[in-house]
């Protein structure tokens, strides 16, 4: 098994089951297009291919983008249960088909292409901002639509219109990227079984159930020991003396690593946590808890508290010589100068701050701010 398959990752970096049909339709269409090349020019198929070949580069790009979008949306109809959304997919597929016909028959190609492709991109942006997580097929379709829109908007006739076209394209690209992030984050959250992981968080597959009594006891006992062992580190200077890389704490979840505790063969040892987590409080650093890590990639952490203590890894993380720079963006890139780490070792947070609502998961920024007196 590929290590990443051990985990459930954000839909942003995979193709969800409902979209597999669309992926198959796109593949078949590519084969059909390749087959059409070989048709004789006097056949209908050959005539269509020849008409496409005679288009200029911009209308040709726009037609190709609309064809891709039409096939993808048509494929989506078969992947979902019939409802209002599938009707929307069908309407989009039909509208794109009509747009192709208009362009191929010499109609106002720029207006039709920009309207249809821009409309599809706008609908996607609204859907993602509304909480729908995009996946790889959705993002690929939007990337192709964006290229088609770019062909329709650039270059417009006249200097002023050309500038408007370029500016619109920049705005649409930025909006597409930001709305996709919004969708991926708003639909994902949590670090427990049954949760949809947010981008860059990989959760092991597991059953969403209540812990047994023995798991609850084990988790309580482990938490008690961590609270006890971490008490001296409430003073960040003591942690620094013990080898934790404290540095300048300016965020609400500053992770201070201790290199000597990494790969030391000790797993989940309360006396030797690999990382301490601090928040920048109004009166200095506040110890939130610790993070334990597994030594080897692909090793599964001991879930001593069952569903209470779910370990996680991080996937699609971008790093550069300056540290972590983010996650692979919805349109497929780390910021230039960074490389993508496919998966990390497993880890688990244990929070020791009084009243933490999720002792072995994640704390929200709002809760941390309230707890440390902001």
């Amino acid at each position: 098994m590929v290590p990443v398959d051990q985990y459930l990752i954000s839909p942003l970096y995979r193709t969800i089951d409902e979209h597999q049909t669309a992926a198959a339709f796109l593949l078949i269409s590519a084969l059909v297009f390749w087959w059409a090349r070989k048709a004789r020019p006097d056949t209908r198929r050959g005539h269509l291919y020849e008409s496409f070949g005679q288009l200029g580069p911009s209308p040709k790009t726009a037609v190709a983008a609309m064809a891709f979008s039409s096939v993808a949306h048509f494929g989506l109809v078969f992947g979902h249960e019939p409802n209002g959304l599938t009707l929307g997919y069908l309407a989009t597929a039909a509208a794109m088909g009509y747009g192709i016909r208009v362009v191929m028959t010499g109609g106002r190609w720029r207006r039709w292409s920009a309207g249809l492709l821009g409309g599809s991109l706008a609908a996607f942006a609204f859907a993602t901002v509304g909480g729908t997580a995009p996946d790889q097929i959705a993002m690929l379709t939007k990337l192709v639509e964006l290229t088609g829109l770019a062909a329709a908007l650039s270059p417009m006739p006249g200097v002023r219109l050309a500038r408007v076209g370029t500016a619109s394209l920049v705005i649409v690209t930025a909006a597409l990227s930001i709305s996709s992030w919004a969708g991926a984050f708003s639909s994902g959250g949590g670090h427990h079984h049954g949760d949809t992981p947010p981008p860059a968080v990989a959760l092991p597959h597991g059953e969403d159930r209540n812990p047994t009594d023995s798991e609850l006891l084990a988790a309580d006992e482990f938490h008690r020991r961590v609270v006890e062992e971490l008490a001296p580190y409430r003073d960040a200077a003591v942690a620094a003396e013990a080898g934790y890389k404290i540095g300048k704490i300016t965020t609400l979840d500053f992770h201070a690593d201790n290199p000597s505790f990494k790969n030391d063969g000790r797993i989940m040892d309360p006396a030797h946590p690999e990382t301490l987590v601090y928040a920048a409080g109004p009166d200095g650093p506040v110890l939130l808890g610790a993070m334990f890590q597994m030594d080897e990639l692909g090793d599964t952490g001991p879930a001593i508290g069952g569903p209470l203590t779910v370990w996680h890894a991080h996937d699609h993380v971008c790093i550069s010589f300056t540290g972590i720079t983010g996650a692979v963006s919805p349109l497929g890139a780390c910021s230039l100068g960074s490389v993508a780490i496919p998966i990390t070792n497993e880890m688990i947070h244990v929070f020791v701050l009084d009243g933490a609502p999720d002792r072995f998961g994640e704390l929200s920024d709002d809760w941390i701010k309230q707890a440390i007196g902001f």
Binding site: V2, T61, A327, L331, G332, A333, S335, L336, V339, I343
Partner: protein, 134 residues
């Protein structure tokens, strides 16, 4: 020369890809700022500005502009190669479709289109060279 006027089809396609690419570079670079790592914005920021400046004169493409585009495209390709090696080394799935589109196909297309877009300066006819002074 106004945008679009007198551009070849290759220059047109090159311009389209570069605009999208420059915007994506800029947006992904801004992520680093959100994460509190402003230093990491330096390279994507420079690349975005470089591409945007190059796009302004895509109909002519002077040597320095071509060089600037090539540097950015090769950086993207080398990064994609490193990512692929990391994925193979860590026994992961290979690159996702969107990553292949933006990190492999797009830069290769730009480099190819750049080669095809070079418009040599109009040379004077041979007889003008011989009798040019008259």
């Amino acid at each position: 020369m106004p945008e679009g006027k007198g551009m070849t089809s290759h220059q047109l396609l090159l311009r389209i890809i570069l605009i999208v690419q420059a915007t994506l570079l800029g947006v992904s670079g801004l992520e680093s700022l959100v994460l509190g790592n402003p230093l990491a914005l330096l390279i994507p920021g420079l690349a975005t500005v470089g591409l945007m400046l190059a796009i302004r004169r895509i109909d002519w493409i002077p040597t320095w502009s071509r060089r600037r585009i090539r540097i950015v495209e090769w950086m993207i390709l080398v990064t994609a190669a490193i990512n692929l090696l990391l994925a193979v080394f860590m026994n992961q799935r290979l690159l996702e479709p969107v990553v292949i589109a933006t990190q492999v196909i797009a830069p290769i297309a730009v480099l190819r289109l750049l080669k095809l877009s070079i418009t040599p300066p109009a040379l004077p006819a041979r007889k003008d060279l011989v009798h040019g002074s008259r």
